[in-house]
Amino acid sequence: MSSGWIEMAAARDLAIRYGFIVLLFGLIAYFAIAAGGFVSPQSAVFIFQSVAITGVLALGVTATLVVGGFDLSIGSVATSAMMAAAYVMVVLEQNAVVAVTACLAIGVIVGLINGWLIVYMRVPDLLATLGMMFLLVGLQRIPTEGRSIATGMTMPDGSVANGTFSAAFLALGRHRFDFFIPNLIPVSVVVLLVLAVLIWFFLEYTRFGRMMYAVGSNERAAELAGAPVKAYKIWAYVISGVFASIGGILLAARLGRGDIASGNNLLLDAVAAALIGYAVLGAAKPNAFGTAVGAVFVGVLLQGLTMMNAPYYTQDFIKGVVLVVALVFTFALSGRGKR
């Protein structure tokens, strides 16, 4: 009987650890059979491409989840960065480097302000970043009075903006690297993968990452163990802001214009990916690997459903059902759970 128990416990442990991954591969297998053309290098690349932007945002928000915070402003940071890039190139007629710098600067500044509000002004995280979200959604529209930014647009003062998106900038959204097959892997996918590996390594293997987890679990204990807790928390929001602005750069490069958008869906999808990450490998806590898998999972699901001609509303529904079921599975079994 005792050995039976041990086997059961081991099986449960396996289910918790690998259940989600198995589900992912199950989904892939199902779509491979059900939807023609699903299995191909191009299709795989495309899935990554479709989740690149939300994935990058999700990796950023993971950093704030790790320190026990939350960042609701990521979607609006991304769209603000997109508008800024377009404004810099189209209206101010600057080059790609200036545009990218401007975007990253926005990410850093917003991250610093968020961090400052939360750490020094002691505003609760949800509140501070919600305020920041509203603020940015409005702010990004003020320079053009609510117009999208594209070459040839008329500015509020009646002048015409004649700058163009530089080729170098557009390449960020459109260039593809050769990888066995020529022109296979888009820049955005490379960016996603590089950032995922970076933040994963940072969180799992460096002392800074470890301390961020400590801060998230018991701030006071981390402080009494010599950690500059405030700095770590601010850093987390800066990481989140910068990642969101990188997402915005990719968005601008893909769209080739500064599009009026709230970024709410970017926020929700990114949060979904980061939260699904809790369930991956039974981590039951925010983690970069899980976030990346979560993003890909959502990508596979949507890609497969679209290929099977499922209407958009069934996609939302199935996304919700799969999310709930997968999470019940993980958390109910693992018996941990609790942010």
Binding site: L251, I260, G263, N264, Q303, T306, Y312
Partner: protein, 326 residues
């Protein structure tokens, strides 16, 4: 025209106060519409109040009452839901206020309906598609149900499918997830990998078309597929003009003109004239070829080189100042 040439109450500048009660405001179409309204209001010398419900239909109805309380003489209702606006519009009429409605049917014989005929928009684009590709092709269609103009454009699409049996709708997709072009691009990519033999993409809303174009470019199908759409903006022009662009044609009314017409129709009512119950702003078909041949780079060029786009002679009595006239 000089102020004194105008009929009462426009003979005294600043005497007339009107309100624009909006349902939708975010996006280029609505921005351009607003600028048209503002330009015409300025040309007429009326005081314009903008009440913006930000896609809150209930609030929009309240805003009509608010406008009444503000003491305006005229109200333009821009978009909204029939059910929520019908009674509010009636209350305004009962209060002796002149009302026109753009793109929302408030089911009131006293209220002129301004329309940018969505059915005509879709028809023009689809006729061009038939002209370019013959009567039988495999199509992808971008549609989200429940949005009034898209539903009306959809009716035309359904009619065309009935009329031309050769049109084979291989996939229907669409989403309004923000940013729309990015989300639609993701869907379109999936659709293209499942149906690489699609020849025509009908995307009767320019945000959809932009997304489809991104996907077509990313898949490298830009020479094999043609996109037909509705609506236009400066960035759409740039996208259509790109070398080997798949975006073949779009049908559009100029939102600024629609805005102007809305104010003019209201002004006619206030001056005691009748603009007619249905004030239709005719659409223009804009093809890739037009844009390249005429070297049209932005909305200003479009207005300059396609005059029917720049100005509609709708609701244009002699005394009416033309805001485009310099």
């Amino acid at each position: 025209a000089m102020a004194q040439d105008k009929p009462a109450p426009f003979d005294k500048p600043g005497a007339v106060k009107i309100a624009l009660v909006r349902y939708l405001s975010t996006g280029d179409f609505f921005q351009a519409y607003l600028s048209g309204v503002e330009a015409q209001a300025k040309a007429l010398g009326v005081d314009l109040r903008v009440l913006d419900s930000r896609q809150d239909a209930a609030l929009q109805a309240d805003m009509v009452d608010q406008a009444i309380a503000l003491g305006v003489q005229g109200i333009i209702i821009q978009h909204g839901l029939t059910e929520s606006m019908k009674e509010a519009a009636q209350r305004a009429v009962d209060a002796g206020i002149k009302v026109v409605a753009f793109d929302v049917n408030v089911e009131n014989p006293k209220i002129p309906q301004i329309e940018q005929s969505d059915r005509d928009l879709a028809r023009l684009a689809l006729e061009q598609a038939i002209k370019d590709n013959g009567e039988s092709w495999k199509a992808g269609y971008v549609y989200v149900a429940g949005i009034a103009p898209l539903d009306r454009r959809n009716e035309t699409w359904v009619d065309f499918k009935k009329k031309y049996a050769g049109i084979n709708e291989a996939a229907m997709f669409g989403t309004l997830d923000n940013p729309i072009a990015n989300s639609v691009a993701n869907q379109a990519r999936s659709v293209l990998s499942a149906n690489p033999d699609i020849k025509v993409m009908f995307a009767p809303y320019d945000e959809f078309a932009k997304g489809v174009k991104i996907a077509v470019d990313e898949a490298g199908f830009n020479k094999d597929i043609k996109i037909y759409s509705a609506d236009i903006s400066t960035s759409d022009i740039a996208a259509m003009r790109e070398p080997d662009s798949a975006w073949a044609a779009t049908a559009a009314t100029n939102p600024a003109v629609v805005g102007q017409v809305s104010v003019r129709a209201l002004a006619q009512l206030l001056a005691g004239e009748d603009p007619g119950h249905n004030v239709i702003v005719p659409p223009t078909l804009i093809t890739q070829k037009d844009l390249i041949d005429k070297d049209i780079k932005n909305m200003e060029d479009l207005s300059a080189k396609l005059p029917q786009f720049a100005h509609a002679d709708v609701a244009m009595p002699a005394w009416m100042p033309n805001p485009n006239a310099k």
